[in-house]
């Protein structure tokens, strides 16, 4: 390892140098220049880290070798993110990316989340997704290639924005919930010791891992999206549920893949709870009614475990925490959005799209085509 390791560091250093040159020579539209500059800056910082490994007077010292290799690995990972996420977007920046960049910029401004607009690529093969980085400017969104001509999917971009907000504001969004969740687990585990319960301790260990590792993130992202968009996010969630045909109570038996999304039933309940807190009574009732009809028509059986996985009081506690968190960080709730002449208000447009879709789907399709044109024309005027 003594000679192989320095060679690895050198090779990665060389890659960084080449990438920096490539990016410095690359011309991009003005709106994407901050992203380009920041990517160059980040690559320079990785290069400097590698230089500091090489310049360390104790480089290769047996006592430190393992730590130096760890340092190199983190550098390699950061480099990989640039090479595989940021570079393809920057080097193949297209008209569609340009549209979504403006759309994302406008969306962030209208929900009052003040960050530099992250990169966005309209070439996702995996539906909507976000690579969330602690530094927003290194985060990257991916959206389906045709979603610049349709409106109904767009609320899902706000779910991804929700992931980013949660990464940056985790304490504000879930601190109180985390305390209640830990209390719930402790009390359930204690009950297991003193009385017969249908579950094994392993059930609660898995539950803890699922909640802390992924469910809290997914629920929070949904709740933030609902806070910003109101019922349109709920309708889109219902649509995905119908399209995927997933059992609405899955997963709840827990012995499952650790990266599963929470059940659709719990997701819709979380969304409904935010609508309720925002005082949107009639929207709450309509979505709730449609959801109950869907469950009834499809004859889903609710397993006993479901209520133990997603206790109602905990879902309410998370919704309350997220609502307070969103308010605290100054996000603009859907209920405070209003139209400004000459501008397109994205949360209100998405809400209107879903309303029209419910009232007259055929009319909606015609309207959607012209509204997309209108949206593109308006966004193209924004610097």
């Amino acid at each position: 390892m003594n000679s192989f390791f320095p060679s690895l560091v050198l090779e990665l250093h060389n890659r960084c140098e080449k990438i920096i040159t490539l990016l410095e020579q690359h011309e991009l539209p003005v709106e994407i220049e901050p992203n380009l500059k920041n990517t160059i800056k980040k690559t320079i910082s990785i290069k400097s880290n590698l230089e500091s490994i090489l310049a360390d007077p104790d480089f290769g010292a047996p006592e430190l070798l393992i730590n130096q290799i760890n340092r190199y690995k983190r550098c390699y990972e950061s480099y990989s993110v640039i090479e595989k996420i940021q570079l393809p977007i920057l080097l193949r920046y297209s008209e569609k990316d340009h549209f979504f960049h403006s759309f994302l910029k406008q969306s962030l401004a209208q929900i009052n989340y003040k960050i530099e607009t992250p990169l966005i690529s309209a070439a996702s093969t995996n539906y909507y997704e976000v690579f969330a980085d602690k530094n927003p400017v290194f985060s990257s969104f991916f959206v389906p290639v045709v979603d610049d001509i349709f409106l109904l999917n767009l609320p899902d971009l706000f779910h991804e924005i929700g992931h980013l907000i949660f990464l940056h504001k985790e304490n504000e969004m879930s601190y109180e919930f985390a305390i209640k969740f830990n209390d719930y687990l402790s009390s359930e585990k204690n009950r297991l010791k003193i009385q017969t319960r249908p579950f094994e301790p392993k059930f609660y260990d898995n539950l803890e891992e699922l909640w802390k590792d992924s469910w809290v993130k997914e629920h929070t992202a949904n709740m933030i999206a609902t806070y910003c968009l109101g019922p349109s996010f709920g309708w889109q969630c219902l649509r995905i549920c119908v399209n995927t045909g997933e059992d609405v109570y899955f997963p709840s038996k827990i012995i499952t893949q650790p990266d599963d999304h929470p059940s659709f039933e719990s997701q819709i309940q979380g969304i409904l709870e935010i609508l309720r807190i925002m005082g949107m009574k009639s929207e709450f009732s309509t979505l709730n009614e449609k959801w109950n009809q869907y469950k009834m028509f499809c004859h889903f059986d609710k397993p006993t475990e479901h209520d133990h996985c997603y206790p109602e009081y905990l879902m309410k506690s998370l919704a309350e925490n997220v609502f307070q968190g969103c308010t605290k960080i100054g996000l603009k709730p859907f209920v405070s959005q209003n139209h400004i002449k000459g501008l397109i208000n994205i949360p209100l447009t998405l809400d209107h799209s879903w309303n029209l879709f419910h009232i007259d789907p055929k009319k909606f399709l015609i309207w959607e085509e012209s509204e997309v044109k209108n949206l593109k024309a308006t966004l193209s005027k924004i610097p």
Partner: protein, 149 residues
């Protein structure tokens, strides 16, 4: 709604923590082994690294055995340690957990009193760095696989 948001969130938190623990360990070890680079370490840097590792180890003890209250007054704001890291530490020391907790308490006290670290302390420090590194690499691999790159 893919899982990339969850994976990248997890990786982002883990890589920062892993980097910080590793960097603090490098400072402490350079000083302990009296290596050439020791001269470049300022007293503040050494004190900060010590303080950082004390906080990490105290939080680790609390996460493994919440019923231990030895350090409660010192936990101002809990550091969120990844659950996979805690599980990995627990599993690696399953058969000798009592001794492991005692060892953690010793390294905390040695760091607090600015005493020389014992061989066992250094073994634990290296082990924690390795586990954190393994978990960070695993989380990195996971999100690359998800993106099929």
């Amino acid at each position: 709604m893919s899982n990339l948001g969850v994976f990248s969130h997890r990786y982002s938190s883990m890589s920062d923590l892993s980097r910080e623990i590793n960097d603090a360990a490098i400072v402490i070890k350079k000083a302990h082994y009296n290596l050439a680079g020791k001269k470049d370490i300022s007293p503040t840097q050494l004190a900060d690294s010590r303080k950082y590792l004390i906080d990490i180890f105290i939080n680790l003890v609390k996460n493994i055995q919440p019923e231990i209250h030895d350090f409660d007054s010192e936990i101002k704001k809990p550091i969120q340690l990844p659950i996979s890291f805690i599980d990995h530490v627990k599993n690696s020391n399953k058969s000798e957990m009592t001794y492991f907790i005692e060892d953690l308490k010793k390294i905390i006290n040695h760091l607090k009193k600015d005493q020389n670290l014992s061989l066992q302390d250094l073994k634990i420090l290296d082990k924690m760095c390795s586990i954190m590194d393994e978990e960070t690499s695993a989380s990195f691999r996971k999100f690359w696989r998800k993106r099929s790159i």
